[in-house]
Amino acid sequence: MQSLTDRKKVVGNKEMTFKEKLYLPAIFKGMGITFSHLFRKHNTLRYPEVKREFAPVYRGQHVLKRDEQGRENCTACGLCAVACPAEAITMVAGERKKGEEGLYREEKYAEMYEINMLRCIFCGLCEEACPKEAIFLTDRLVPSTFERDEFIYGKDLLVEDVNLRIDITKRQLTGKRTEK
């Protein structure tokens, strides 16, 4: 068959030639290659001091957004849970009572909203499925812990603080959800 690249190499138990049997030429060649690496620039980033910049499309820990008046966007429609291929998202819907208009944007809201970070594969389909611009993946990393239970993130960890908003403009600028 015609190969797509010219890198195909036919292998077989062919006898080594005398030059190959000497080993030394190949060894010296290899040592030359490694020696040239001595003078190359290293690619190491000294991590805690220097951090690699994330791409604008990086998909890390989720955030449940609030709108400009600080009300939760999520209406517990469940589309994210349906879209999730890892079945990491679960939620319980609740009805907004009188006097809670400042907390939730619409009449229905999520009483409980959990993402299991061990199940999550950070594909971003929840973000694409969301009709309310409520859930986004951010450039934050999910920290490691010792207990499995602690990886189930509830609303306390997911919903952004009113005063400490999570900036997701970079993601919105990638053009994924401009027309919504």
Binding site: G30, M31, L38
Partner: protein, 347 residues
């Protein structure tokens, strides 16, 4: 009495230097590996990470000193002890330099000028395999046993070729004493040719070097402890400072075999233009030359380790028995004929 104190000081200094070099060889091994792989290597402990060996050693001391239930307890303890003892012993016949003078006292830079120095080293190298053998067998673990068996068969195969190469050098020098061998290579250039043995016996040097790689269990002949197949080989079951001893012994013997190569083939403490100096200056420069040569060889050992993949065991045996031994035998024969011709046997 004063001689006893002199010797004692030389021994202590040699002991400390061997351990220090071995400790820093572990650091440089990691650094060299990092450089070859476009990385930085350890750089957190102290400036440039130079305190890394201390951190490693300290860590090993604080680990649990565990002996498996089914292991032969005393042999299990004896194994690393022998490995370490033998590795340190070989250093004592190596002439590090000419004598230093302190007023009346003349201090030889050699612990013992044994008149069969090179035999002493070969002998102790062969005992070295007992440390690995006993430790591997006493662990009562099949991987450790595999490693031990591999080590012993490898030693037997490569010691022969190594010994024959040494014989060629001994034939040329006419003495088994390392001091005589070094003095025979005095300076750098004499009678229209280089004096160092490597220029007279390049083939013997290459074979000796390959065998030294095998004898110190270093890549590409690190089959006794290959991590990928035998999960550490003979020291699979070892932890804490016992494993530290094995690793230390390996790096000490790396240092010593580099020194032996320098002595046998690269003129030991001789350096070009050494006749312009005398006394203590000569001795100190000699030490510097000797250590420079040794460190170059340590670097080459590491360079090889991070370049070449491991040999397969059958390849190792083929190389040892079918190539190195016949070639070194022929080399010895030719050397003998040339010496006989020069002595006028054929006239």
């Amino acid at each position: 009495m004063s001689e006893l104190i002199e010797k004692f000081i030389v021994i202590v200094v040699l002991f400390t230097v061997s351990l220090g070099v071995a400790a820093y060889a572990t650091y440089f091994e990691r650094k060299v590996a990092a450089w070859f792989q476009d990385r930085i290597g350890p750089d957190r402990a102290g400036p440039f990470g130079i305190l890394q060996p201390l951190a490693d050693g300290g860590k090993l001391f604080f680990k649990e000193d565990f002996i498996p239930e089914k292991a032969e307890k005393w042999l299990f303890i004896l194994g690393p002890g022998i490995a370490m003892f033998v590795a340190l012993m070989t250093g004592c016949v190596i002439p590090w330099s000419t004598a230093l003078e302190f007023g009346e006292n003349i201090v030889e830079m050699q612990v013992a000028d044994v008149n069969i120095g090179i035999l002493f080293i070969m002998g102790f190298l062969s005992i070295g395999v007992y440390g690995i053998m006993i430790g591997g067998w006493a662990s009562n673990n099949k991987f450790a046993l595999f490693g031990a068996i591999r080590a012993s068969s490898q030693m037997i195969s490569y010691e022969l070729a190594m010994g024959i190469c040494v014989i060629t050098i001994v034939m040329m020098t006419g003495s088994l004493s390392l001091k005589d061998i070094v003095n025979h290579q005095h300076g750098f250039w004499a009678d229209g040719y280089f004096t160092w043995n490597v220029f007279k016996q390049p083939l013997a040097f290459i074979i000796f070097f390959i065998c030294a790689l095998a004898e110190t269990n270093r890549a590409p002949f690190d089959l006794p402890e290959c991590e990928s197949e035998l999960i550490g080989g003979y020291h699979t079951e070892y932890g804490s400072m016992k494993m530290g001893f094995y690793l230390f012994a390996e790096y000490t013997s790396l240092f010593i075999s580099s020194a032996v190569i320098a002595v046998l083939f690269f003129g030991g403490f001789n350096f070009p233009g050494m006749d312009n100096f005398e006394g203590n200056t000569l001795a100190l420069l000699g030490i510097a030359a000797m250590f420079a040569k040794t460190f170059v060889f340590i670097f080459i050992f590491m360079w090889i380790r991070w370049t070449i993949p491991r040999f397969r065991f059958d390849q190792l045996m083929h190389l040892g028995w079918k190539k190195l031994i016949p070639i070194s035998l022929i080399n010895m024969l030719v050397t003998g004929l040339v010496i006989a011709y020069n002595e006028g046997w054929f006239n």
